[in-house]
Symmetry: C2
Subunit: 268 residues, 2 copies
């Protein structure tokens, strides 16, 4: 057995070495190949991925393994920037939208106008990437500045996340009613409405913004309470899309949740 498996005292030897040795010796064996002929390479798709630790950091963020983080690690600023400005972010968003649409199409709606799809706004329906891409914000690697962020919100020019807009556009003719639930303060209602319309979101059942009275609540508490109100009003939350796990955890989260990537910030 020792040729097939390292002895216990060497158990910390990596799986890589274990498999590599099997690969190296299997050619001489009389039996058919026991192990796939693939050669182990480095990184995704067999190519070395620069910033490999940032890729792992991002995966850990997206799978909710790293919580309550404050800033993008300084060493990952460029990585996150290239990700957000490059193809991969858009491809990843497209995969989320595609998966959500396949699910939506599989449903039979009642037609009573109570079948809803919940969307978060920031980094879900709308993108603040033009703001986060400013050098002073460094894709979330620089300290958050509430004043300048609110000034950006007040401009009302955030573009859509294209894959989410596309999902929205396809959900409407299927019969879904749309509900936006955002942590943005109620005082920005007017500019948020104009921004959503400018970005291509022309109709919705409800646009729920955060009342000043609830400004102290975490997103997961606030959003759970709002979803509870929807369910108590007879709505069925069939889908729920957000960039933060706090959009998708808690209570009344809906029949299916869809996580849009966001490596730039964390909201609890």
């Amino acid at each position: 057995m020792s040729t097939k498996f390292p002895c216990p005292k060497n158990m910390e030897i990596t799986l890589f070495i274990f498999l590599a040795s099997v690969l190296a010796t299997s050619h001489g064996a009389a039996t058919p190949h026991q192990i796939h002929l693939l050669r182990p390479h480095s990184g995704a798709s067999g190519h070395h991925v620069p910033g490999i630790s940032c890729l792992s950091w991002r995966l850990a963020v997206e799978t909710d393994n790293i919580r309550d983080w404050d800033l993008v690690p300084e060493a990952c600023e460029n990585y996150v920037g290239h990700y957000m400005l490059g193809h991969q972010y858009r491809k990843d968003c497209n995969a989320v939208g595609y998966s959500a649409l396949q699910y939506a199409k599989s449903l039979k709606l009642t037609g009573d106008g109570k079948d809803i799809w919940v969307f978060d706004i920031d980094e879900t329906a709308l993108s603040n990437l033009p703001y986060y891409a400013r050098p002073e914000n460094g894709f979330g690697a620089k300290e958050y500045n509430a004043t300048s962020f609110n000034e950006w919100i007040e401009e009302g020019i955030a573009p859509p996340v294209p894959a989410v807009l596309k999902l929205y556009q396809k959900l409407l003719p299927l019969g879904f009613k749309i509900v936006f639930i955002s942590g943005t303060s109620e005082k920005y209602r007017k500019i948020r409405i104009s921004n959503l319309k400018l970005a291509g979101y022309h109709t919705w059942e409800k646009l729920i913004l955060k009342p000043t009275s609830e400004s102290g609540a975490t997103a997961v508490v606030y959003k759970s309470a709002k979803r509870k109100e929807l369910v108590e009003a007879g709505y069925r939350i069939l889908g729920n899309t957000g960039d933060q796990w706090s959009d998708l955890f808690g209570t009344y989260v809906g029949n299916r949740t869809f996580k849009v990537p966001d490596p730039m910030y964390y909201i609890s």
Copy 2:
């Protein structure tokens, strides 16, 4: 405003073009750069990532956006193979282990022996990669063969997932009791014990395997029920680590959950 934002009828224009145009024009502006000087590149870290759609597929799987999938897409067999045999899988596992350990160290244990950490076994404590790497299994891209998989389990030579073994080794001296909950049938208890020990897992509070009477239950139902029994017996589930969302969803999931990557199969 038209120079800062595409007009509504062009709203489907990608964010990429929007940002690229801002980047291209911002050099002539009298004001400081409004947008980060990063140039948009393709893919992660600014390099083209071959198999880009497989990377998005994997992220969607890891974030639970794609559920109930049956096989790795045929086009992603090589991608998944290179990922699993390459550096990235091990780096991603290390990031999970590191994050879990940071959390574990932040806790104050009671010392009454009731503070537990739950681990799944397959693709969490132990790796079946030597099995899935066989050409006939193609890293989950080929149809599942229960007979040959069970023969592999009966060999009892699955190596550890190195990052998870390391986490286990560091949790013990912190005072955590370990509970393994696995969907493996009770009839494999003897060989699973010997395999766990061979792989370096020498001690545990409980090893919960699936009774034949519960063979029909989904993982999320079966594992929730077992965790409920633990909590009712006075245990506190402080951490919970698994490769499937069905290990980490349901009830009594624990104070924190940690998702180990697994792009090879899906268990509901």
